[in-house]
């Protein structure tokens, strides 16, 4: 399997995971969307030196991985491209902020290092939370939730189309590179000279196909509203889920829970 095939199957397996009938998948999409946004908002709002407080937020993805029966390792593998990129934020902090703010044993930790770690953790947590939303909620349901939240219809449609476009672009890339390799046997990679026309072709073709897909949607009555298979009413479990998480996340954000726990153990 080459890289593109890998990317396609990763993408599709995320898509089909979202379609499965597991407990996490059945939570009302609006509630999952709300909690994800809340979580990211609270996470990002931690002060830049408050690493311990931020650690508490790990509870959310940790529990979700458990109850969602999702593999953490698999997610790291899938996010291997994204995670290093988001970790770059804050990498320069240690060079600017050199004042020692705390000590671990004998080693002084500068504000820069601390704020860098905080920023990285924030970024990773936000990515993980989004990932958890995506693998447990199909794109149609996410769009439905956005629609329920009164997002402008054109933006919601845009989200759906971009999502579709990714798979079209990947599939088109696969076709073009396969066609290339079949007529350039024994060649590793793609010759520099062929890159221009190849990439051009790929973009044109995938745009063309994306347009036809959109036409096909319009021909079958798509007017910007999303309809789900089942009527998705909010169940009592959903409310409970929402209340518990909202409370927990607020507590974790507002109170130094980890410090309390630490002190309780040390005592």
């Amino acid at each position: 399997m080459n890289k593109i095939d890998g990317a396609i199957s990763q993408f599709q397996s995320m898509d089909s995971m979202a379609k499965e009938d597991r407990w996490m998948n059945q939570i009302h999409p609006s509630i999952k969307l709300f909690l994800t946004v809340l979580f990211i908002g609270l996470t990002v709002s931690f002060p830049k030196y408050n690493l311990t407080g931020l650690f508490g937020m790990i509870l959310y993805p940790f529990v979700l991985f458990q109850i969602g029966e999702l593999s953490f390792r698999e997610s790291l593998y899938r996010l291997r491209v994204v995670l290093p990129i988001v970790c770059i934020v804050g990498i320069a902090n240690p060079f600017f902020d050199r004042a020692v703010v705390t000590r671990i044993g004998e080693i002084g930790v500068t504000g820069g290092v601390l704020s860098m770690l905080t920023l990285m953790l924030k970024a990773v947590l936000s990515v993980l939370a989004s990932y958890l939303l995506i693998v447990t909620t199909s794109i149609e349901k996410i769009c439905y939730a956005l629609q329920q939240a009164h997002f402008p219809q054109i933006l919601v449609t845009e989200v759906l189309l971009i999502y579709r476009y990714i798979s079209v672009l990947l599939a088109e890339t696969r076709r073009v590179t396969q066609a290339y390799h079949l007529r350039a046997p024994g060649q590793k990679g793609i010759a520099i000279g062929a890159w221009g026309p190849l990439v051009g072709q790929m973009l044109l073709r995938s745009m063309d196909r994306a347009e036809r897909l959109y036409q096909s949607m319009c021909l079958r009555g798509f007017d910007g509203t999303f309809h789900l298979k089942e009527k998705s009413h909010v169940r009592r479990t959903d409310i409970l889920y929402l209340l518990i998480w909202t409370a927990l996340l607020l507590i974790l954000r507002l109170f130094p829970v980890l410090e309390w726990v630490g002190r309780w153990f040390v005592r």
Partner: protein
């Protein structure tokens, strides 16, 4: 009762070279029309214009008593099912079932009715087993059948098909002929499979270089060797064998 009236349509893509010139015909209720012509004759373009995928033509298209135009687009499209030549462009949902349910849901049918329609469409083209399959993982012919099902579930008054028999094995092809013959509304089928046209359409329109060369009884046109060859086509295979 719905009919289609096409009045002197001319059309060209971005350059000035005309792709369709002075196309005119009428189709009455229940009529099945075969659209034949060499590669690049303009068959797909004509079908696209009929569903309003491009409104940049001169002339007039009337569906029922509505003139096709920007404002009437939604109303007209509701009546028309269109099977793309390229089935990859037709389906966009994740599973076959979801895709077939797309149109009925958009047209506000109840859940029960939608489920019924999906069931019937799956059954009609014999792809019940593919219900939960991802559309990316279908074979060429399965894709074609599924894309036909996505249109059958709309229960359209008018059905336009671009090369529906391509990629189908003999059995599925025969089944599709049966399904088409059982459909009530207007059917317009563009195809190079003249035997397929022979079996499904009583009337045929022959297009050459964007103009209608001949419009009439299928049997008469498909038996006319000189006419077909003059327009870049050949006799249907079954007629060869019979000779």
């Amino acid at each position: 009762m719905t009919e289609i009236e096409v009045k002197n349509i001319s059309f060209s893509y971005e350059q000035k070279i005309p792709v369709l010139e002075n196309i005119a015909f009428c189709a009455g209720t229940g009529e099945a029309i075969g659209l034949i012509g060499a590669n690049g004759a303009g068959k797909s373009t004509l079908l696209k214009l009929l569903v309003g995928l491009d409104l940049g033509y001169t002339g007039e298209i009337r569906v029922g008593d509505v003139v096709l135009g920007k404002k009437t687009l939604a109303a007209v499209r509701k009546k028309i099912g269109y099977v793309f030549q390229d089935s990859d462009s037709q389906m966009f949902m994740t599973t076959v079932e979801e895709d077939i349910a797309f149109a009925p849901r958009n047209y506000g049918l109840s859940r029960e009715e939608t489920a019924l329609r999906v069931e019937r469409a799956l059954e009609q083209v014999h792809i019940k087993a593919l219900r939960d399959k991802s559309i990316y993982k279908l074979s060429g012919g399965e894709k074609k059948l599924a894309s036909i099902a996505t249109v059958l579930s709309m229960d359209p008054d008018i059905i336009l098909m671009d090369e529906p028999s391509v990629a189908l094995d003999p059995k599925n092809r025969r089944n599709l002929i049966r399904v088409i013959n059982e459909l009530k509304g207007i059917k317009i089928i563009a195809s190079h499979d003249l035997d397929f046209i022979w079996d499904t359409c009583e009337r045929t329109i022959l297009i050459h270089n964007g103009r209608i060369v001949c419009d009439g009884d299928t049997e008469m046109i498909l038996r006319d060797k000189e006419l077909l060859e003059a327009n870049g086509l050949e006799l249907p295979l079954s007629l060869y064998i019979r000779r």
